[in-house]
């Protein structure tokens, strides 16, 4: 059956690469739809929620596009993939922009990387955390299928999520601190890295997401 994948467009950055990468992995009769309309998001079979930029701007954009309810609804009712800022805004509160209230889907905060931290080579760790880092799976998940543990994905961010419930962490990554680079609960999966920019590993993750039929939900 043809699937309909909605990529949520709320004016925060370029969604073209996310849509293109999804088009690359879906079946021929599947549809990838970039949309800011709540009705289209609710009608879709699955939802991808990307995002970049600052936390406060993201929250304002979500609100201005009247997407709060559609987002929370989709996050509870169908396969949902958050990417980068689309992961961070699911938490309660971010340190960014002198403090920003988030969507509060998961207890826990979004923190800035410690300034002045030193890496294994004795050099200062640069912020943003930019480049290809390893993702350590904390357990099995359908989205990790055919992806070796500790594969590298492309990251670019200065803040990381610190969930209060450790069991939602699906993967961790080390950069001065060990942080949650993927989290999962029921039909929701969210990643700090950019699968759409992470070559084979990223495309495999998107391939898995498009075909994911979570049993623990709905």
């Amino acid at each position: 059956m043809a699937r309909r994948v909605a990529v949520i467009d709320y004016g925060m950055g370029n969604l073209r690469s996310v849509a293109k990468a999804l088009e690359h992995v879906v079946e021929a009769d599947d549809q990838v739809l970039v949309t800011s309309r709540p009705d289209e998001i609710l009608d879709a079979d699955r939802v991808v929620f990307p995002g970049q930029g600052a936390a406060r701007d993201c929250m304002i954009a979500i609100s201005e596009h009247h997407l709060n309810r559609a987002l929370l609804d989709a996050a509870h009712s169908k396969p949902f993939l958050g990417i980068c800022m689309g992961l961070q805004v699911l938490m309660e509160f971010s340190e960014e922009n002198e403090g920003t209230e988030l969507l509060k889907l998961f207890p826990g905060n979004v923190r800035h990387f410690p300034r002045g931290a030193v890496g294994p080579d004795g050099r200062r760790l640069k912020i943003p955390h930019m480049g290809w880092n390893q993702v350590h799976h904390t357990g099995d998940h359908p989205l990790w299928q055919a992806i070796p543990d500790n594969s590298r994905y492309y990251f670019v961010h200065s803040y990381y999520v610190d969930p209060a419930e450790p069991d939602i962490t699906a993967a961790t990554t080390d950069y001065g601190v060990t942080f949650t680079s993927a989290l999962a609960r029921d039909s929701l999966f969210a990643v700090q890295f950019h699968p759409e920019k992470s070559a084979a590993a990223g495309l495999t993750l998107l391939h898995n997401f498009v075909r994911w039929e979570p049993s623990a939900c709905c």
Partner: protein, 256 residues
């Protein structure tokens, strides 16, 4: 552990990849999509396109190049050359670029960097710095910013300038030594190290790579977060894969 990035750089003129313009007129033009695809398959961590088109009419061509590459190559893409106003940045991002490199426009109007990092986010703004050593023998090392391919001095101290650009929100610095560019004798390691120590953001070393040892030096002695090279990859002296295996053997963390 975060990997050091290897970034091949492609000069693009009117929609075609141009090889070796600095040396001789070998305009063995390739299709940017083909070249980008090959580099991606070899394991490039990012690809940088430098738009060397002289006429602004032809800049629209670059937008289509970025669109075509971004539809097929799923690694980060940076575009530089001729970025003067915020709308240039927007057009490149909308076409599928992940980052935009700004050089001359930043020198003429530093506030431009603030404007575009505020609007689009630091993560997508790279400030490209062309620096030349101006200290004489026996003097403390000093580098100055040059524009117009290293011909025009600006009076700006490279270290102060890099700090200012980081303060203004740049997400990364692409640092080219004009003394070394095209020489194949290796990076200016003192410059790379000095700038890298001065700023909290990642630094890409560029200019002077002639062999794989130079890439290792850039990381291990220069402290670069990423190394950029053009000719050693274009002329198929080395593949990206060979470069990465060599660096891994020498103890550099890379994505294999």
């Amino acid at each position: 552990m975060l990997a050091k990035r290897i970034i091949p750089c492609l000069d693009v003129d009117n929609g075609r990849v141009v090889k070796g313009v600095k040396f001789v007129d070998i305009r063995d033009a390739g299709d940017p999509v083909e070249v980008a695809r090959r580099y991606n398959e070899e394991g490039a961590d990012e690809i940088t396109f430098l738009d060397i088109t002289a006429s602004s009419d032809d800049r629209e061509t670059m937008v289509h190049v970025v669109e075509d590459v971004a539809s097929e190559v799923f690694i980060p893409l940076t575009v530089g050359g001729g970025i003067r106003v915020a709308d240039d940045v927007l057009r490149m991002l909308n076409a599928g670029a992940d980052k935009v490199a700004i050089n001359t426009a930043a020198v003429f109007n530093p506030e431009f960097v603030k404007e575009v990092t505020d609007r689009f986010g630091s993560q997508c703004i790279v400030v490209a710095i062309d620096a030349k050593q101006v200290s004489g023998e026996g003097e403390p090392l000093k580098w100055e910013i040059f524009t117009h391919g290293g011909r025009k001095p600006t009076g700006l101290d490279a270290v102060e300038w890099a700090r200012k650009m980081a303060d203004y929100g740049a997400g990364e610095i692409l640092l080219t030594s004009m003394d070394r560019d095209g020489t194949k004798v290796g990076f200016d390691l003192a410059l790379t190290r000095t700038i890298g120590d001065a700023v909290p953001i990642p630094v890409i070393a560029s200019g002077g790579v002639g062999n794989l040892e130079h890439l290792v030096e850039g990381v291990q002695e220069g402290g670069a977060d990423a190394v950029l090279a053009a000719s050693i990859f274009h002329f198929a002296e080395y593949s990206i894969g060979e470069a990465k295996r060599f660096m891994a053997e020498r103890g550099v963390e890379v994505r294999l």
